[in-house]
């Protein structure tokens, strides 16, 4: 039995300790916004946060994240970075099929919590683990910058 803190709520789950967080979120708890893409940490579709850091939930054993603060795409909108990114994603109409975008937004939110105003190179470095087969990368770059700028504006005012 593991106790998980997900998006501010507590979940008690009876699963093996080596079960990846991804499948606990999706199949056991029912939070399906976190996606499966590869199972080997190559695509980033499963990105979630543990204590504010981006992790690939497909290779994160649930036993290692008990009682730590887990945030998923369903909860990221409650954070200022997450909300700003979602707004920018909509304003620039980033998604096409959309399947990878929860992972993209989670990686971007982790980036913005480290770097307030990332450069292209910092964006590329932080986001290179997130694949998009629709290839929406040009807009992802713009959206991260727009979200960062909107937060800078919000802080000044």
């Amino acid at each position: 039995m593991a106790r998980l803190q997900i998006n501010g709520a507590t979940h008690e789950v009876d699963v093996p300790e080596d079960m990846p967080l991804l499948w606990v979120l999706r199949d056991v708890i029912g939070l399906t916004g976190t996606k499966f893409g590869c199972g080997i940490a190559q695509c980033g579709a499963c990105t979630a946060h543990v204590d504010g850091k981006a992790v690939r939930s497909c290779v994160t054993r649930v036993g290692t994240v008990a009682d730590r603060g887990i945030t998923t795409i369903e909860g990221i909108g409650a954070t200022p970075h997450g909300r700003a990114l979602q707004n920018a994603w909509l304003s620039l109409q980033v998604p096409q099929c959309g399947y990878c975008q929860p992972g993209q937004i989670m990686s971007a939110a982790a980036l913005l919590s480290e770097v307030g105003s990332p450069s292209d190179a910092q964006i590329d470095a932080a986001m290179a683990g997130n694949l998009c087969r629709c290839c929406t990368y040009v807009r992802i770059r713009k959206a991260i910058k727009q979200a960062a700028a909107s937060q800078a504006t919000a802080q000044r005012t």
């Binding site: 399906t32 199972g39 080997i40 979602q86 109409q93 980033v94 998604p95 099929c97 629709c134 770059r141």
Partner: protein, 736 residues
């Protein structure tokens, strides 16, 4: 339901409750089903529906699958424009399976593909909206006893300014059904458009940024189990024996099933499923653990030693045969024999997997007397058909819930996931979600064909192109997928697509097709279909001819165009915006490709730099596009941006290879796909036009590979004849 058939194009099906139901069609009737015959619609079976209920709810049945191209927004915009309703007043429902009602007029099949969605709907949906609007106005005018011409509409309301009266469409719905159906509803002129040509927020996007969007992969049902699957590692292998116990001893595993080993025929569409083993469990992880614990004894079968040499040798041998003539102008042999300069080339294009971000998935609940499926499919009626065959039920007992797709690129034109999920559910006595691992998704895909092309060209003494001979050698997808689409002599129109309708005016031209099927490896449509293959071959060879003729690639193409003003315009626009004549640093190059595909004209310029190790860096991409009238410009740009990068990614790195009868690649570590740090700036310039719309979902992909290959030639002098480009790394390193 009682229906009266109008004299010509439209029909009125009368009031259903207090709803105005308007069907419409503009194309020749196909044989009606029993279902539609009993409704009295035999001759004018509609292919889409508007429904306006007394509450004012406006519903459009969308007959296309939302795969990311934006049809859940663009198609309702067409309707809303002519109906004078705002987009937020139009609800959409995915169409049920029904070949008679929803066959695409270009594809003659209920299908999303070949970039037809807007092309097929452009006139039909606007006429539907206009006809409904006219009937609603007539109903209001009758009630107010005013002249309909004095009424106007906005935001789903009929307004009579003279008497300051207004009624919403919902209040008028019942009365409108009593109005005659307009025979030829007046459509707006382009300058009257209020919605078409704007870029409202796509309706599917809010759910795609907060995790709420539901894909097939996300469906959850009470009592649902989770399944994962492993098919025979070799093509055509058989399952000799299997000990279930190692899987069943894992906590959460509920069932181990043997499936596959059979063929299907759904209205001419053929699919063979190799033997497979699936593990069904309480969650995906347990199912995957169970599958990993199994050691199935596979008979490797007749293809146990199959390798790429076998495939390539067979294609090369076939290339010495004469082919079916797809197009022939003038006298190519004579022109070649008298040409001052002759060129020849052989090109090779690899097998490719689709590798959509959402691996194949399907939820099925197969019961004794019914079957429900939840998935994303590009072919709804066929999906219902194959589920019915597997479930052993008549098609009408199968309910399809068609969901948005996490990418498709042609993958969901196939039905293997649905057939497997229904079989597993049936054997397990429970609703089951089948999810492919990425390895199963790549190793048991149906692949973009490996093509071999041979080309010959002749130039006269002045460097003018006088002869063009293109022989295409490869499999026929249509022979399996829709044999009725083949020409009577077996010519596959997809295999020669883009090769027989080039924008160029060649005086002597011969295009041939030699069908050669690879042993055992199933082939399927892939983004850009025939045009993606042929544009690479043709635009690479045109570029080569220009180089031999010592002419600038853009000017050489201009001179070849003859009377093709739209092609010329995009060529010139791409050259201008890319600053074609501006010098580049060493080891850098620019390449251009021009394409006419899916009724769209596109010119793409790619700029690259090579490292000393021969690695290619994409520096800049400029696309000029004339796709006629544009419904949602921002989505048009997005499709070209993404489609171009998709094509560049495949051209640089992607191939599926077979060794000892098995696919060698399995995941994104060995099936490489472009990442953000490899992505250049992409500029898309749209030409303003009022021509009929062209397709956009695949068009960007078409011009990508040749523009890249030509840029590499410009940078290094090395002519790429084989994709992916990474295979030429040693040569590029030597020249860099």
């Amino acid at each position: 339901m009682n229906a009266r058939v109008s004299r010509r194009h439209f029909l009125r099906t009368g009031a259903v409750g207090a709803a105005l139901v308007l069907g419409f069609r503009l194309y020749a009737a196909r044989p009606a089903s029993a279902e539609t015959s009993t409704a009295g619609l035999a001759q004018f079976t509609p292919n889409a529906f508007i429904r306006i209920d007394s509450e004012g709810g406006i519903v459009l049945v969308v007959d296309k699958c939302e795969v990311g191209q934006g049809v859940y927004t663009s198609l309702p915009m067409l309707l809303a424009e002519e109906l004078d309703a705002d987009l937020d007043q139009v609800a959409i429902v995915p169409s049920p399976p029904n070949e008679q009602l929803y066959a695409d007029p270009i594809l003659h099949l209920q299908a999303t593909g070949n970039s037809t969605s807007v092309r097929s709907s452009w006139t039909e949906l606007r006429r539907a909206g206009a006809a409904a609007r006219q009937m609603l106005i007539a109903a209001a005018a009758a009630e107010w006893r005013v002249d309909p011409s004095q009424c106007r509409t906005e935001r789903a309301t009929v307004i009579h300014d003279g008497t300051r009266r207004q009624l919403g469409y919902g209040a008028l719905a019942a009365a409108a059904t009593q109005q005659p159906v307009p025979q030829d509803p007046q459509l707006k002129q382009a300058e009257q458009f209020k919605q078409i040509g704007k870029s409202p927020l796509r309706v599917d996007l809010p759910g795609k940024v907060d995790g709420a969007a539901q894909y097939g992969f996300d469906v959850r049902l009470p009592g649902m189990l989770f399944a994962t699957i492993a098919s025979s590692p070799t093509f055509g292998g058989k399952l000799n024996s299997l000990d279930d116990n190692p899987a069943r001893s894992i906590k959460g595993v509920r069932n181990v099933v043997r499936i596959g080993g059979q063929g299907f025929d759904v209205g001419g569409y053929k699919l063979h499923l190799d033997d497979a083993v699936a593990v069904v469990a309480e969650n995906t992880w347990a199912a995957q653990q169970g599958l990993a614990a199994l050691e199935p004894a596979w008979d490797r079968g007749p293809n146990a030693h199959l390798g790429m040499d076998d495939v390539v040798r067979a294609l090369e041998a076939a290339s010495d045969r004469g082919g079916l003539v797809a197009r022939h102008n003038g006298d190519v042999d004579k022109a070649l024999s008298t040409a001052a300069t002759r060129l020849e080339a052989r090109n090779y294009m690899p097998f490719l997997a689709h590798a959509a971000m959402e691996p194949l998935s399907c939820v099925a609940d197969a019961r004794e007397d019914s079957c429900e499926i939840w998935t994303a499919t590009q072919v709804q009626a066929r999906a219902q058909g194959i589920a019915a065959q597997v479930a052993g039920l008549p098609p009408e007992k199968v309910t399809l819930h068609n969901l948005i797709s996490g990418g498709a690129f042609g993958r969901r034109l196939e039905l293997d996931g649905i057939a497997l999920a229904v079989a597993i559910s049936k054997q397990s006595g429970a609703p089951v979600k089948l999810v492919f691992t990425r390895e199963q998704d790549i190793r048991h895909d149906l692949y973009r064909p490996f093509y071999h092309d041979r080309l010959r060209a002749g130039l006269d003494a002045s460097g003018k192109l006088v002869a063009w001979h293109h022989r295409i050698v490869g499999p026929s997808i249509f022979a399996r997928w829709a044999p009725q689409a083949l020409r009577s002599d077996g010519l596959d129109p997809d295999a020669v697509d883009g090769a027989i309708q080039m924008p160029y005016a060649f005086p002597n031209l011969l295009v041939e097709y030699v069908r050669e099927e690879p042993p055992a490896i199933p082939t399927a449509f892939w983004r850009g279909v025939g045009s993606t293959h042929n544009a690479w071959v043709i635009e690479s060879f045109v570029d080569e001819i220009a180089a031999v003729a010592k002419q600038d690639p853009v000017q050489f193409r201009r001179d070849l165009l003859g009377h093709a003003p739209r092609a010329l315009a995009v060529l010139n626009l791409a050259a201008e915006k890319s600053r074609w004549d501006k010098a580049l640093p060493p080891r850098s190059g620019r390449g251009i490709a021009l394409a006419y595909a899916f009724d769209t004209y596109l010119a793409t310029v790619v700029e690259v730099t090579l490292s000393g190790a021969g690695l290619v860096t994409l520096q800049r991409v400029v696309c000029a596009v004339d796709c006629g009238s544009i419904v949602h410009p921002d989505s048009a740009i997005a499709q070209i941006e993404g489609g171009t990068l998709f094509g560049l990614s495949a051209a640089l790195w992607n191939e599926v290879t077979v060794r000892n009868g098995r696919v060698e690649q399995g995941n994104f570590n060995d099936y490489r796909t472009i990442r953000i740090d490899e992505t250049p700036e992409v500029e898309v310039h749209l030409v303003s036009s009022r021509e009929a719309p062209g397709g956009l979902g695949e068009t960007g992909t078409v011009a990508a590979a040749p523009a890249l290959a030509n840029a590499i030639f410009s940078a290094t002098g090395y002519r790429v004849r084989q994709l992916p480009i990474i295979k030429s790394i040693e040569e590029l390193k030597r020249r860099a």
